[in-house]
Symmetry: C2
Subunit: 133 residues, 2 copies
DNA sequence: AGTATATATCGTGTATCGACGATCAACGAT
DNA sequence: ATCGTTGATCGTCGATACACGATATATACT
């Protein structure tokens, strides 16, 4: 079931609720987990682009690129506007918010055993053995 | 485990370095492209954790979780410190910078048709949804 | 020595991915 | 109506991912 749940929450503001499910975030990451699709996203980051042009840039068969576009579109990362015989693809910025939010949290997490070696298990302790942990 | 979503911003500056290769970014995204691995990352976001505990939380077979940990470790997203008979896993925040950087760029791209290329969209046009775009 | 714990690795079956060429569908132009 | 362009879909193949149980490895403890 496609849980639409269009959270307009912006990761920048760190909304009180962060309902994005693991599956939802994983789906976004998975859609981005291919070099060709990263390539496409970067292209669209510069400017909206027509399919044929994307095919030329990516350098794969048209059918293959179409499939990558389909995957990105299914994940909500891009969207296509039909015009004439072409389709103009553009980014859907809000779609990456859940993943971006998680990554920003990770990125700022510099607490890996900061207190020398004895910090492996923080106060709450993930384990009883705090001895050499 | 509702972690308080501490207010934070995306790595706007990030490592000014350069566009990590598409393959590199895709590899990070791919490693995150599974619910179980997102689950693990979220656990480690709270606190470093020992393998056995992760197995209990994720709810999959030990061997399966070990494989997910291996994938995350291979991508550089986490690292494990051997202690006694256990391994304490923790996040490697810097590893996600390339992907976080791209996503922050995407997220701020709410200007769908702002280019003057006119190949797809009219220069100043595209106000609102889509005109002749 | 042996035992117990914690994790990694192996081997397997199934499911999905990724690439391609070929083909279909839509629509403006001729 | 026909043609030409553009993009989506189909069918197929090999490669990879994912899950599991069984087994191997490493170390502390007795």
């Amino acid at each position: 079931m496609p849980v639409v749940a269009e959270t307009q929450s912006l990761p920048l503001d760190a909304p009180a609720a962060e309902p994005a499910s693991g599956a939802e975030i994983a789906a976004i990451a998975k859609a981005l987990g291919h070099p060709a699709r990263i390539h496409i996203v970067r292209l669209l980051l510069e400017e909206p682009c027509v399919g044929r042009e994307i095919v030329g840039e990516v350098g794969l068969a048209q059918s293959t690129v179409s499939e990558h576009l389909r995957i990105l579109k299914a994940a909500g990362i891009i969207m296509g506007e039909i015009e004439h015989p072409r389709v103009c693809y553009s980014l859907n910025p809000d779609s990456v918010a859940p993943l971006a939010g998680l990554l920003s949290a990770v990125f700022e997490k510099d607490n890996r055993c900061e207190v020398d070696d004895a910090d492996c298990c923080p106060p709450a302790g993930c384990e009883s053995t705090n001895t050499s942990c």
